[in-house]
Symmetry: C2
Subunit: 254 residues, 2 copies
DNA sequence: CTCAGTTTGTTCCCACGTTCACAAACTCCT
DNA sequence: AGGAGTTTGTGAACGTGGGAACAAACTGAG
């Protein structure tokens, strides 16, 4: 296999270059910004699919996904040429191609660690399973919680982690413990072979090379909103000046 | 002080321009990427402060925040010159300056709409109030939930939204309803005068100019992890096949 | 077949963000 | 005071991402 060549859109002239992808190695790598948008496109396509729409233009899909159509086309071009000029994209076909590229045609086993307020909400969340993720275990270190039924599972001892990860070949872990426990839990997950971590705790995790961490931080999101909110008020308040400049500005405007 | 120009990075020559901030108006604007990191620095500083550390270098603070020290210094330089060369930064002073810049020295009233699984977790979350955000109302459209006690509040009718927003001068709203209700809730929030929205529902919200929306989307985060996870396996699996080859591969594997 | 109309895939250019590297500014020791 | 050592603030190089614009590739009518 891998014989086809077929000259992809990428580097056209630099065919059988022998040097080992010096410095710049795009090598089928999709830009991170594009990867982050593919799930959005996928969701939009599923919506169109549910409405039994067979075909759509980049303009329509872009509108549904809330992005610029040029950006959408460029994003999709990284995956290949799945559209037809003059026509548009076949919804089902494109949907499958994006799902395959992201990797959600297969099922990903996931463990959740820390079943408190947030962990309970996550465990009850149906959007998990409907998008290719299967919760194989809910783990907590608190013995008082062990055995508690939740969704279609029971809360289990965090000490069982290694057994579970091995048994189900778990690659993705979710951390929903307090911040002070997060690094420790993270280390244990990594030690068991988990290589992707979604962290809800407000703490900076350090992991070895090859392990991906993404964080979801509510406080940060709110603080970003607060920053912009403050600037909106300041706009008519006092044109956003630093304190020392205020005096000077007053003089100028006079 | 200051006043002496000192040639800021921004537009130096375009001093007292009369045109209304045409097109490019950096005008003391802090880069978005920097704004997103300031809360992380703030958290790191609070940790240092709790440990009664009075001073820190950019190197130390950067390590605590999980970023490059050059990036940290550049980020801080947008706020002003709050460090001392040869010494470092005063923890308390810098902490206050960042908090002020973000706007968390004041208290921001927040409403949460949709008190289901996620809404309950958010309502119980202590990290809200400890970071300058005060939940002034928990709203749900389901009459069965009205009056239910939660944290130090009760769940109230979504219809009360306008009264509450006016009374508390709420600028920030959190949406935790199902996706199909999100746009409607968003419109109602905006109509009442809310200008910043944090959206947990997996849907694209459209808002008028001047309203900020940030989304937190668990599924997207997991799908991004899945993408990278898939590439990790593919690396030694089959060197990344092109589409036409997939069909062949599938046949082979059968 | 040809031509007009449509829509994709790609190129080009600009803006933004990251990192390096170094002068400027400070402390401390002699 | 002066010089060695330290650390900030920033200019410049580099890389990534976004958007306009257009050639290429398709459809369908005449
Ligand atoms: N609740 C929210 O809405 C919310 C929002 C944003 C972020 N967060 C963050 O998510 C995390 C969890 O929040 P929460 O409200 O669910 O807290 P919580 O205290 O309700 O739950 C934490 C759970 O983790 C368990 N735990 C503690 N140490 C553990 C360990 N070493 N191993 C395994 N389990 C352990 C505890 O037994 C508890 O059940 C916190 O870091 C919080 O800051 C929560
Ligand atoms: N539960 C999770 O862990 C989780 C994780 C990520 C994203 N989400 C998303 O967050 C949202 C909420 O999830 P959930 O699990 O809490 O769902 P849920 O069904 O448990 O709760 C939704 C709540 O919203 C209320 N509601 C419905 N329509 C409303 C309206 N028009 N106005 C006001 N309230 C209304 C319902 O009465 C219900 O109480 C969903 O969009 C979900 O996809 C949830």
């Amino acid at each position: 296999m891998t014989s086809g060549r077929s000259s992809r859109g990428g580097a056209p002239t630099t065919e059988g270059v022998s040097r080992t992808a010096s410095a710049k190695a795009p090598e089928r790598g999709i830009p991170e910004a594009t990867v982050a948008r593919l799930p959005v496109y996928l969701r939009a396509l599923i919506t169109l699919s549910d409405r039994e729409i067979a075909t759509c233009s980049s303009e329509e899909l872009a509108a549904a996904a809330g992005v610029n159509s040029a950006k959408l086309r460029k994003d999709l071009s990284y995956l290949g040429s799945y559209g037809t000029r003059g026509v548009g994209y076949d919804v089902e076909y494109l949907r499958y191609q994006i799902a395959r590229e992201i990797g959600v045609t297969q099922d990903w086993p996931v463990v959740i660690v820390g079943i408190g307020n947030l962990g309970h909400a996550l465990a009850n969340y149906s959007g998990f399973s409907s998008r290719g993720f299967r919760i194989v275990a809910l783990l907590d270190s608190d013995p008082a919680r062990h055995g508690e039924p939740l969704g279609d599972r029971f809360i289990r001892d965090f000490a069982d982690l290694e057994t579970i990860v091995r048994e189900h070949d778990v690659a993705i872990g979710v951390i929903a413990t307090p911040a002070h426990a997060a690094q420790d839990v993270c280390d244990r997950l990594v030690a068991c072979g988990v290589t992707s971590i979604l962290n809800f705790a407000p703490s900076v995790l350090s992991v070895p090379e090859g392990v991906d961490v993404r964080k979801v931080d509510l406080s940060i999101e709110l603080q970003i909103l607060a920053y912009h909110e403050q600037r909106k008020s300041a706009a008519y308040d006092a044109d956003a000046l630093t304190e020392p400049e205020i005096a000077a500005a007053v003089v100028e405007s006079a």
